[in-house]
C-alpha cells in the first residue's frame, strides 16, 4: 500500500487518489503554459527567450532593463495574482459547498462579494479614493457581511439551508444598497467603482499583489488540516459529530478560513464572480470523486482565473474586467457539464 499523500488523501483504500493527482498534474502543466503566455503577451514586444532570461537569469542571455521591467515587474505580479487568487477563490468555494452540502453555495452567492463591494464603495466615498481606504473598506465589508450572515443564520445550531437563504437575502439587500450608492456618486468615480465591482486584475500591481499573495499562500497551506473535517462533514452533521468531529469549532474555523481567503482576494481584485462557485464543481467532475476534491479545486481555480484573465486582456477587442470573462467561461463550462451529466444519468 502506498503512503498517503496529504492533499490527495481522498480515497481511503489506496491512500492517494491517483486520479486527483493526475488531474492536478495536468492542470499544473496547463497553469505553467498559460503563465508563460501571460508573461510574454502584451503591447511591448518581447520574445519567449527574453521571458526566460528575465525570469530565470543565467543560463539564459541577459535582457534589457526594459524587458525585465515588463516581464518581472508588470506581467509577473498579474500572472501570480491570477494563479493564487484563482486557487484561493476555488478553495473558499469548496469549503462553503462541502459545509452546506449544496453545490450552489459559494461566497459570492452568499453575500460576501456584494458586502466587499459595499465596503469598497464606502471606503471610496468616505475616505476619498486612496487605495488603502478602498482595500480596507473591501476587507471590512466582506468580513462584516460574513459575520452578519453567520449570526442571522445561527439559531439552535447552523442549518445548511437557512444559512444559504439568509446569505442570498443579505446579498440582495447589499446589491440594492450598492446600486443606490453608485447612483449617488459622480460618473467618473462610479465607472471606476463599477469596473472594480465586476472583479478585475487591472490593479494587480507588484505592490498590491505580493502582500496579498503571501497571505493567501499561508492560508492555502492550512488547507490540509481541514480536509479530514470536510470529509466527515459530508456525512451530515449528526454523523460527523458521532464519528468524533467537534462540529461547531471545526465548522467555524473552516468558514473563517474560507472568508479570509475570499476577502484577501477581493481586497485587491474586487469580487471576481463564478470561480468559487464553478471551480469546485468542475474539479469534482474531472476527478470523479464522491466529495469535492480540495487540491484539484485549487488547481482548477488557478487555471480558470489565469485563462480568463488572458482572454480578458488579449482576446476580447477591448480590455474588460476578468470577472466578466469568468462568468462567461465558467458558466458555459458548467452548463455543458451539467447537460452532459443529465444525458449520461438517464
Amino acid at each position: 500500500m502506498s503512503r498517503p499523500l496529504l492533499l490527495g488523501s481522498q480515497r481511503a483504500h489506496v491512500g492517494v487518489d491517483r486520479r486527483e493527482l493526475a488531474v492536478c498534474a495536468v492542470l499544473l502543466v496547463a497553469a505553467l503554459g498559460l503563465g508563460f503566455v501571460g508573461l510574454w503577451a502584451g503591447d511591448f514586444p518581447v520574445t519567449p527567450g527574453e521571458v526566460a532570461g528575465a525570469l530565470l537569469g543565467a543560463p539564459f542571455p541577459a535582457v534589457e532593463p526594459i524587458v525585465y521591467t515588463v516581464v518581472v515587474e508588470w506581467h509577473l505580479p498579474r500572472v501570480v495574482a491570477a494563479l493564487v487568487f484563482g486557487a484561493a477563490l476555488a478553495a473558499s468555494g469548496a469549503i462553503f459547498q462541502t459545509i452546506t452540502r449544496n453545490p450552489l453555495a459559494s461566497p459570492d452567492v452568499m453575500g460576501l462579494a456584494n458586502g466587499s463591494f459595499t465596503g469598497m464603495l464606502l471606503g471610496l466615498v468616505l475616505l476619498g479614493g486612496a487605495w488603502a481606504g478602498i482595500m480596507a473598506g473591501a476587507l471590512v465589508g466582506g468580513l462584516v457581511t460574513a459575520g452578519l450572515v453567520y449570526v442571522l443564520a445561527l439559531r439552535d445550531g447552523l442549518r445548511d439551508f437557512r444559512f444559504i437563504v439568509v446569505g442570498i437575502g443579505v446579498s440582495a439587500f447589499l446589491a440594492a444598497l450598492n446600486s443606490w450608492i453608485l447612483l449617488r456618486i459622480d460618473v467618473e468615480t462610479a465607472l471606476f467603482a463599477s469596473a472594480w465591482g465586476a472583479g478585475t486584475l487591472n490593479n494587480a500591481t507588484a505592490g498590491a499583489v505580493w502582500p496579498a499573495a503571501s497571505v493567501l499562500v499561508v492560508l492555502l497551506l492550512l488547507l490540509p488540516w481541514g480536509v479530514a473535517s470536510l470529509r466527515q462533514l459530508e456525512l451530515g452533521d449528526d454523523l460527523a459529530r458521532s464519528t468524533g468531529l467537534a462540529l461547531d469549532r471545526h465548522r467555524a474555523a473552516l468558514l473563517l478560513l474560507a472568508v479570509a481567503l475570499v476577502s484577501a482576494v477581493t481586497t485587491v481584485a474586487g469580487p471576481i464572480a463564478f470561480v468559487a462557485l464553478a471551480a469546485p464543481q468542475i474539479a469534482r467532475r474531472l476527478v470523479r470523486s464522491p466529495g469535492i476534491p480540495l487540491a484539484a479545486s485549487c488547481c482548477t481555480g488557478a487555471v480558470l482565473l489565469l485563462g480568463a484573465d488572458l482572454v480578458a486582456q488579449h482576446v476580447v477587442p477591448l480590455t474588460v474586467p476578468v470577472g466578466v470573462v469568468t462568468v462567461v467561461i465558467g458558466g458555459a463550462y458548467l452548463t455543458w457539464l451539467l447537460r452532459r451529466e443529465m444525458r449520461t444519468d438517464r
Binding site: M1, P4, L6, S9, R11, A12, H13, G15, R101, D156, P224, W225, A228, R231, Q232, E234, L235, G236, D238, L239, R241, S242, T243, G244, L245, A246, L247, R288, S289, P290, G291
Partner: protein, 264 residues
C-alpha cells in the same frame, strides 16, 4: 468485589429542541455487554434519548455519564472512541464506494495529517466482514439495495470500533429478512462483548433479540427490564394503547405479541 458501575448512565435529563420540551427528569441505566432495545410509540422521545446518550443533544438539565465522567467534559474524539451512534438521517457523497464510506468511521482514531494506518485497514476489513458486505467493498453505495446500504452504514459504525454502539431505528424501511439480518449482526456484536442500544419498532423482533427493554411514552420511561417482564399485555396497553394477546414464541419462548382483532 463490588461490580463496576455501568458505563453509560443518564441522570435526570431534561431534553429540549428550541422551546419544545421532549422529556423531563429522564433517567436511564444502560446495562453493560447487553442488547438494550428502546420501544415506544412515535414521537415518545426514543430518538431524543439516544441523541442525548450519544452527546448529540446537550441536555437542558441533568447529565449523561460515560465511564463515570460527564459526557460534556469529554473531547469529541475521545467520546467517539468509546461510543458510536448511527443516527436516523445521514448523507453520503454521491458516488462514494462502500470501503471509502466505512473508512470514514475511523475518523476518531486518526490524527489530522497521518491517516490510513494499518489498524484502520484492519478495522474496516473486520467491519465489512461482520456485516457481510465485504464482497460489496468496491461498489458504489448508490448502486446498492436498501438492505445492503443499511448494513454498510452499520459497518461504518462498527469500524469506529467502540465498546458502546447506539443505533436509531437501524431496521426501519427494511423488509423482514433484512431486518433479521441486521439484528443478527447486532446480536453477534453483543456476543463478542459490545454494549448495543437500538431503537426498534417491531415488538416481536425486539422481544426475541433484546436482553433489556426500555419502554417509553411521552418522554418518560414506563417500564424497564427483560422482555418477559416488560412486553406484557398491560404494558402494551399503557405504552401503545394496543389491545393484544402475548403468547410465548413457539421457537424461543420469548413474548410474542398478537394484536387483538379490532376490525369492525
Amino acid at each position: 468485589m463490588t461490580p463496576a458501575p455501568p458505563r453509560l448512565v443518564a441522570e435526570g435529563l431534561t431534553l429540549r429542541y428550541d422551546a419544545r420540551t421532549v422529556a423531563t427528569d429522564l433517567s436511564v441505566v444502560v446495562p453493560d455487554d447487553r442488547f438494550t432495545v428502546v420501544l415506544g410509540p412515535n414521537a415518545c422521545g426514543k430518538s431524543t434519548l439516544l441523541r442525548a446518550l450519544s452527546g448529540l443533544l446537550a441536555p437542558a438539565a441533568g447529565r449523561v455519564l460515560l465511564d463515570g465522567a460527564p459526557l460534556s467534559s469529554l473531547p469529541a474524539k475521545e467520546r467517539a472512541r468509546r461510543m458510536a451512534l448511527l443516527p436516523q438521517t445521514m448523507s453520503a457523497p454521491e458516488g462514494i464506494t462502500v470501503r471509502e464510506l466505512v473508512h470514514r468511521g475511523r475518523f476518531a482514531h486518526q490524527r489530522v495529517l497521518r491517516r490510513h494506518s494499518a489498524s484502520d485497514r484492519d478495522a474496516v476489513a473486520a467491519a465489512l466482514e461482520e456485516t457481510h458486505v465485504a464482497d460489496l467493498a468496491e461498489r458504489r453505495l448508490d448502486e446498492l439495495s436498501g438492505g445492503q446500504r443499511q448494513r454498510v452504514w452499520i459497518a461504518m459504525t462498527l469500524a469506529q470500533d467502540t465498546p458502546l454502539v447506539l443505533l436509531d431505528e437501524p431496521t426501519t424501511f427494511l423488509d423482514l429478512p433484512h431486518q433479521i439480518e441486521v439484528l443478527n449482526v447486532l446480536h453477534r456484536l453483543v456476543a463478542r462483548g459490545r454494549t448495543v442500544v437500538a431503537v426498534l419498532h417491531d415488538l416481536n423482533l425486539a422481544a426475541r433479540y433484546a436482553d433489556h427493554v426500555v419502554a417509553m411514552r411521552s418522554g418518560a420511561v414506563v417500564a424497564e427490564g427483560p422482555p418477559s417482564a416488560t412486553i406484557t399485555e398491560p404494558l402494551l396497553r399503557s405504552v401503545f394503547d394496543l389491545e393484544a394477546t402475548v403468547l410465548p414464541d413457539p421457537l424461543t419462548g420469548a413474548p410474542m405479541v398478537v394484536p387483538a382483532d379490532s376490525r369492525d
